[in-house]
């Protein structure tokens, strides 16, 4: 790989990594409070994409520009965030809470999660059609500026900025707010948190909603970058899950780091080994890291945010 190629893949790699980070946070947050992998999180992502697609297709004029573009992007962010939040909220209520009330074993949660995932993506295929759809044009996607000579277009910039804003916002929320303290307390010791007056059910539900907002918005951003389809959640979902494990499941900063790493690895795989190896290296990295550090790069210390 020449230096020039290296440069050209950097921005797309970072953009993809930022997206994976945001999705990975959804997995790791829920794991933190419930010790369960919400495998239906990929469908939260997918439905967020569809939510934005459907609303924006209705309202977007042919060639928006300027302020209209900005408003459309904001509308897409809000709609996808709300759809993601609603989906995650419903998932917790329907697929997980009844099991928690009956103290079901972990395996049952896993089956319920996979079942919910199948149900949702097939439902989306049935409702919205099985062909991939492009987001309507929200802005003129020109090159904005160059970094070290590599072009940065509007979509990539939007993706990176939005993802970073979400990551920073979430980090502040978890470390600085009362809700964040409660989430950390529940992750560390739910029973002790209850003795402090923390309503665990409410915190679990809010944790799902926070993860859902991030996942839904990631779906919209992903759709802008490529397309929206009922199967779009699968690869990003499984990669982001791998990213969360790679960084140390339950560890927020680990999820961010793992997402960035896998986004870059996946992107650089293409010029290095060819397109057909795109998804292989990410998992090879995962396996390699876990062989030497089974708790992930930053460690799976539960409830730890740093």
């Amino acid at each position: 790989m020449t230096l020039l190629e290296f440069r050209d893949y950097l921005v797309p790699g970072l953009a993809l990594g930022a997206l994976y980070s945001v999705i990975a946070i959804g997995y790791t947050l829920v794991y933190g409070v419930l010790k369960l992998i919400n495998f239906a999180h990929s469908e939260v992502f997918m439905l967020g994409g569809f939510g934005a697609l459907i609303v924006l297709t209705e309202v977007a004029p042919g060639h928006p520009s300027g302020l209209v573009s900005v408003l459309l992007v904001l509308l897409g962010l809000v709609v996808s965030g709300l759809v993601g939040a609603g989906t995650a909220f419903g998932l917790e209520k329907v697929a997980y809470r009844p099991l928690r009330k009956r103290n079901a074993p972990a395996l049952i949660f896993l089956i319920s999660a996979i079942g919910a995932s199948f149900f949702l993506y097939n439902l989306a295929g049935k409702l919205f059609g099985r062909d991939p759809k492009a987001m309507p044009a929200l802005f003129d996607n020109g090159v904005l500026f160059h970094v070290l000579g590599a072009p940065v277009d509007v979509v990539k910039l939007l993706l990176i900025v939005a993802a970073l804003a979400m990551i920073v916002g979430l980090d502040l929320l978890v470390r600085r707010t009362k809700l964040g303290s409660a989430i950390r307390a529940v992750a560390q010791d739910p029973e002790a948190a209850g003795l402090m007056g923390v309503d665990i059910d409410r915190i679990v539900s809010r944790t799902f909603v926070i993860g859902g907002v991030l996942g839904g918005i990631a779906g919209f951003l992903f759709g802008l970058n490529s397309q929206v389809s009922f199967t779009m959640g699968f690869i990003p979902g499984i990669t982001a899950f791998a990213a969360a494990v790679l960084g140390g499941i339950g560890n927020l900063r680990g999820a961010m780091l793992g997402g960035m790493l896998l986004g870059l690895v996946e992107t650089y795989n293409v010029p290095l080994f060819g397109e057909e190896w795109r998804y292989v290296a990410a998992f090879a990295v995962l396996v390699l890291v876990l062989m030497f550090r089974p708790t992930g790069i930053l460690g799976a210390k539960l409830g730890r945010t740093a």
Partner: protein
Amino acid sequence: MTAATHLVHRTATTDPAPAPATAPATAPAPAILELADLHVSYGAISALRGIDMVVREGEVVALLGANGAGKTTTLRTVSGLHRPTAGEVRFCGERIDGVSSHAVVGLGIGHSPEGRRVFADMTVLENLHMGAYRFKRLRQEDLERVFTLFPRLAERRTQQAGTLSGGEQQMLAMGRALMGRPELLLLDEPSMGLAPLIVAQIFEIIKEINAQGTTVLLVEQNAAQALKIADRGYVLETGRITMHAPARELLDDPRIRTAYLGETTP
């Protein structure tokens, strides 16, 4: 001065008559906590088999017993972590069995659990904030009260709780429970695993907390220390109350001396 106030307080609330369970000589303080025929089971195993117990306002009551007697289960049931299979828990006259643990805190019951259970990855200050979770915001005077009782916590306020010594963690668990301004404080084995000097300190502080107006229900294996600061004591054996008397009487009782104070029969 604190010892003096404590003494006044104690004589005001407890009755020195020999048989308080049946006929108190003067009007007793109102009951803050009542357990009536309380049964708790874990699956097929019954941990509590019909417990009757009263804690009156302003008292320190010690609940003694060997490992597995059901002491911790009793406290956990009061806090709503277990549901009784039969019987009642009443706090200030209201039934609270079946109320979930986070709601029990809001009623005014603080619980410093067995094994301390501090949030290891949070700082001392963050742990204390969690203790005040039921309030909209933490009140500075509560924080100052805890730091006055436990100056060590003030020194270590920015330190991660997991890096504290056992004694400091115990202080944090108690301080955290106090941040919720409990009327009744449940203390589960505060002396467990601590050096004698620290144990003495902890018990001094429990006396002080009580003197400041908090009723204390104390679960202890260290019967000698517990009975020294308690007004009354209950002895729990395999899920049943087998003895109940003023603390001083229990301290002198030969059965207690052999079973819980480590003395051989004379």
